[in-house]
Subunit: 257 residues, 2 copies
DNA sequence: CTAAACACTTCCACTCTGCGGAAGCGCCGC
DNA sequence: GCGGCGCTTCCGCAGAGTGGAAGTGTTTAG
């Protein structure tokens, strides 16, 4: 294969996960030929792998020939305690925050040069967003992302700034401006964005720290531009402090990553 | 292999999912030898498979040699829209229900002869429980389970009743008594249990129906025995009706399973 | 109505991946 | 120092997995 890695990299298992990864850009499932195309594998190979995974209930084949990710993968995925179970500790505080504000509530961690959303709470009256649990969004264009970036190692900051692209016309991508923003985030301990990820929305986010003061995650709110999110700053900080407190109280005390 | 199924069943993929399944009974991760034992596979085979899955970030190996399920599997698992995305539709209603009652809120579907929990919401003051999202519990011993069982095909009811075992001394397992309870659940459209799954707790659950009236899921509350859960019946029914209404409004209109 | 396009299934000769017991290493407890 | 435990590496080879080709069935366009 052309990946420049050990040729044993492309065994059955690797191919199976290529197939599963193909669903990441999909909303409504994929027919076999499209699945093969996205996975970058021959049709027959994908046919066989997909059939095996349907048998395992990892994939499901709908009557209209589309494949979707199956419940078995969902069940197995839930066995993961991402960031040491941070999501489970944070969830009650996120619920409190949702109740208090009725806005979208996000919890995210840094995953390389992106923000990985651990959870998103929202109500039926919350502004619709592109974020979802398990999803990745740019660090430079989101509130939680800016908090995470502000506390990232310098090489990550350099990489993100070098590759920063506009998502909306308002997305800040100029290196100098971004660096000043990140310094401001560290100084005042919160980030605020206006229409940088989605037009019509703005956000505010604060860091969640471990007992050693290391920033593990960011928690944030997203509202419409008609509602100023920083008025919820006190509530956000209370939620972040509560999460930090409960993390400190746990036997392990620290995350496993 | 001795499974009596097609011999191709035991390929690499099947073994890999055997390995992942081994984590289902685990809380704190597994060392290699324990993983091999639980997966029922030779040590060398599991070593190779586990190393491949670590490379894929599907598993993670901790400094103390334990393996845990990794964030990649979590991310891929979240691509599944179990029961057609029912959880996502139901979540705002579950949040409302949690706010109104401050108790554990469950959403479950029937998975063969067990209850599969799609989501569980709880606060820091809610009574601790064994249930978790992605987990399975017996149909005959839980509130949501009894609702699901009451609306299951007769062969499922027969199987569950035949195999019913006590989880606590209060678990109802006598066939006649169970059948009468299920008839009562159908008549009054809710189930109530007292200490059948966990001592000190009781529960109430109601059906969630699709536009054709088919019971898709059950939503329920679990409280301590000191707090009568049926006083929340009206709130539960409102939540179930709201979920049903939103399900009916969706383009697909129906679940995909 | 017909042809083209598309999605999918099955075949099968062949390659090379994946197999797992054995041997050996390192660490820990007694 | 020894035994037990967890883990890593080796390696010959059997058969699992490969994928292009051919064929089937359905849908779409003219």
């Amino acid at each position: 294969m052309s990946e420049g890695s050990p040729e044993r990299e492309r065994g059955v298992l690797a191919k199976a996960f290529d197939v599963l990864a193909a669903f990441e850009g999909s909303r409504d499932g994929l027919v076999l030929v499209e699945l093969a195309r996205r996975a970058g594998l021959p049709l027959t190979t994908v046919h066989r792998l997909a059939s095996d995974m349907v048998r395992q209930q990892v994939l499901e084949r709908l009557p209209d020939r589309r494949y979707v990710v199956g419940r078995r993968l969902w069940q197995l995925g839930l066995l993961a305690r991402v960031q040491g179970g941070l999501r489970d500790v944070a969830l009650p505080f996120m619920q409190d925050l949702y109740e208090a504000t009725r806005e979208n509530v996000h919890l995210a961690i840094r995953d390389g040069d992106q923000a990985l959303y651990l959870e998103r709470l929202h109500g039926r009256s919350s502004v619709p967003l592109v974020s979802r649990a398990g999803g990745l969004l740019p660090l430079h264009a989101t509130g939680v992302g800016k908090v995470l970036l502000a506390h990232a190692p310098p090489e990550v900051v350099d990489q993100v700034i070098k590759n920063a692209e506009k998502v909306t016309p308002y997305t800040v991508t100029e290196p100098g401006r971004l660096l000043r923003e990140l310094a401001e985030v560290r100084r005042r301990e919160y980030a605020r964005t206006v229409q940088e990820m989605t037009l019509g929305t703005c956000s505010v986010a604060v860091p969640v720290r471990d007992p050693d003061g290391i920033v593990l995650a960011a928690i944030g709110l997203v509202t419409t531009t008609r509602r100023e999110p920083t008025r919820h700053l006190a509530a956000l900080r209370m939620a972040a402090a509560g999460i930090a407190r409960d993390l400190a109280r746990r036997p392990g005390g620290k995350s496993t990553t």
